[in-house]
Amino acid sequence: MTAQATVATQEPAPDRLRAPVGRLLRAELRWIFRRPRTLVVLGLLTVLPVITGVAVDLTANGGAAPATGGPGPDGPGGEPPIFVTMATSAFVLPLGSLMTLLMLLLPLTVAMAAGDALAGEQSHGALRGWLLAPVARGRLLVVKAVGVLVVALVAATLVVASGFVTGLVLAGADNLASMSGTELSLGEVLGRLVVAIAWATLYLMAVGAVALAISASTEHPMLVVVSVLGGLIVSGVLLQISALDWLHPYLLPQSLGSLVDLIRDPVATGGLGEGAFRALCYLVIGMSLAYARLTTRDG
């Protein structure tokens, strides 16, 4: 009561019409990382590379294989050789895990975060609280998008870090061969892993932007996750149909195969660059749609 009284007496500065964006972001992140399901999913994503590494280690009976496996073919169909030879290297295991999880689990994690961000808030009636405070709808979208971005970044980092640590434990720091047969230094490997995280985050954010656009148009977070899941599966099917070659460059999962290039030496940047550009296009379109929908939506 006393705080209320003292606040009332001081005249608010006329220009203070919006809460600082840093404060909003902190509140948003606290909310995201207090949510039990966020923590469960992130925990699961951390455990999966460990399980993969240990399982491969047990079946391959040691970590000598990666360098001798030979390069796989390009494109999304080129996984099997990598998977077989991925073994437990602290270089290949994190990248392999990232590639596998980028197909479905990581995009779904991001879709879940995006679904909760707008549709979930709306379904609880909590979006009104922000709008009435007021937080302008554009700023609200920025805050929500940053929240999704942080989830994507944390998820990708956890997968890579967990794979890296597992690889170090299982195979040590001296077994860091590229797919082309050259040996890489630890620093080089770390650099490439950071690039992989950044690239994966951009890819996930493209998914997240589209998910936010859906999230802005519904109040059922489940619908967001289902739409993203459906979109990924349909894209995957379309990518298998060679008669639709002309369509493939427009499909987001087309980019996924290029992540393999990070295991080559030297790194082939063409595919990665194209993938990043494609993700950027999805990002811009998704965020524009989300903005258009959120600003006209009834609160």
Binding site: L17, A19, R26, R34, W130, L132, A133, P134
Partner: protein
């Protein structure tokens, strides 16, 4: 959509005003031509049956929904055009509380406090504690929202409306789910705000609630304002009655009927319709007829009567009647003219 130039600058005495407000949802007219005026410093009760457009009007007032037509002025500023400029000074509880179940009441409030422009970073904690204290939730602040009872959820919603110092507080059905003690507390909070000079707009279907707390009333029916003004004026507009306390009610009623004065039995005597007559004439008539008059007092029409009359064409207003007030107090056979609907006979506190 917004034409700020059309709206004259703040007239000084009006906290919220709408002109020709209209909202159509996919062909359904929710609100039609609402001209609302909320005087500054008043406690305005918004009444209306379910679906009469109360909540839609409030949502448009707060810039949550774009009106199809019409202008809105909130604290002298056009809405939704410049809503960002006034909303910091407006606290609102609309369509029930909106919080997340996995956070505690305090954490939920802290989230929204972070978005309040008028609170500085250092004030957040204090403001949240004060708001929780004010609605009587200090003890349950650390409990998960999931575990809150309906009444506690409602209180938390009220707390979020009171996080920052406000000039206008808008409460949509604030007593929903509250027990009598909670209802009393809401009354106390509204009275406190009123004493501080804060304008309050409260929508309710609890007529007794509005009658007890409000200075002004707006009655909506089927999306149209059917009455608005100071509560006293509205109550006076109903038929004034005189309650005559007497041991011989039947004789009194008969005597009055002989003189073409409408009267009907009340538990303590007779209730007399004062249209077309005066208290003095009534008492004189009774005394001449030999009826002993123990006491006579003027009665105001209850808000319930006024409400029933104003929204009558919607069928019975009985669905909106408060549960704590019995519907008909007297047997209908005592009706002299037989024309009056039962609610009009209800005794007024």
């Amino acid at each position: 959509m917004t034409e700020p130039a059309v709206i004259a600058g703040s007239a000084g005495a009006v906290a919220a005003r709408t002109r020709g407000l209209r909202k159509v949802y996919r062909g359904t007219v929710a609100v039609d031509g609402v001209d609302l005026e909320v005087p500054e410093g008043a406690v305005v009760g918004m009444l209306g049956p379910n679906g009469s457009g109360k909540t839609t009007t409030i949502r448009m007032l707060l810039g949550l929904v774009q009106p199809t037509e019409g202008e809105i002025e909130l604290l002298g500023v056009p809405v939704p055009g410049a809503a960002d400029r006034v909303l910091p000074h407006v606290g609102a509880l609309v369509e029930g509380p909106g919080f997340h179940p996995f956070l505690s009441g305090r954490e939920n409030l802290l989230r929204f406090a972070a978005a309040e422009p008028l609170l500085s970073g250092r004030e957040l904690d204090g403001a949240v504690s004060a708001a929780l204290e004010r609605v009587g939730l200090a003890g349950a602040a650390r409990k998960k929202y999931r575990a809150y009872s309906l009444g506690m959820k409602q209180r938390l919603g009220l707390a979020s409306a009171l996080l920052a110092p406000r000039r206008l507080v808008v409460l949509d059905e604030p007593t929903n789910g509250l027990d009598p003690a909670g209802t009393q507390e809401v009354r106390r909070i509204i009275a406190e705000l009123h004493a501080q000079g804060v304008t309050v707009l409260v929508s309710s279907h609890l007529l007794a609630e509005v009658e007890a707390t409000c200075t002004h009333v707006v009655v909506l029916n089927a999306g149209v304002v059917v009455a608005q003004g100071p509560l006293d004026d509205l109550l006076e507009s109903g038929n004034p009655t005189l309650l005559v306390v007497t041991a011989d009610g039947a004789a009194a009623a008969a005597a009055l009927h002989d003189h073409r004065v409408t009267a009907w039995l009340a538990p303590a005597g007779v209730r007399v319709d004062l249209t077309g007559t005066t208290p003095a004439t009534v008492i004189e008539t009774l005394v001449r007829a030999g009826v002993r008059v123990d006491e006579a007092r003027r009665e105001r029409t209850g808000l319930e009567d006024v409400f029933a009359r104003l929204t009558h064409d919607l069928g019975e207003a009985s669905g909106e009647r408060t549960a704590d007030q019995p519907a008909a107090a007297e047997p209908a056979s005592d009706q002299p003219a037989g024309a009056r609907p039962a609610p009009d006979q209800e005794p007024v506190r």
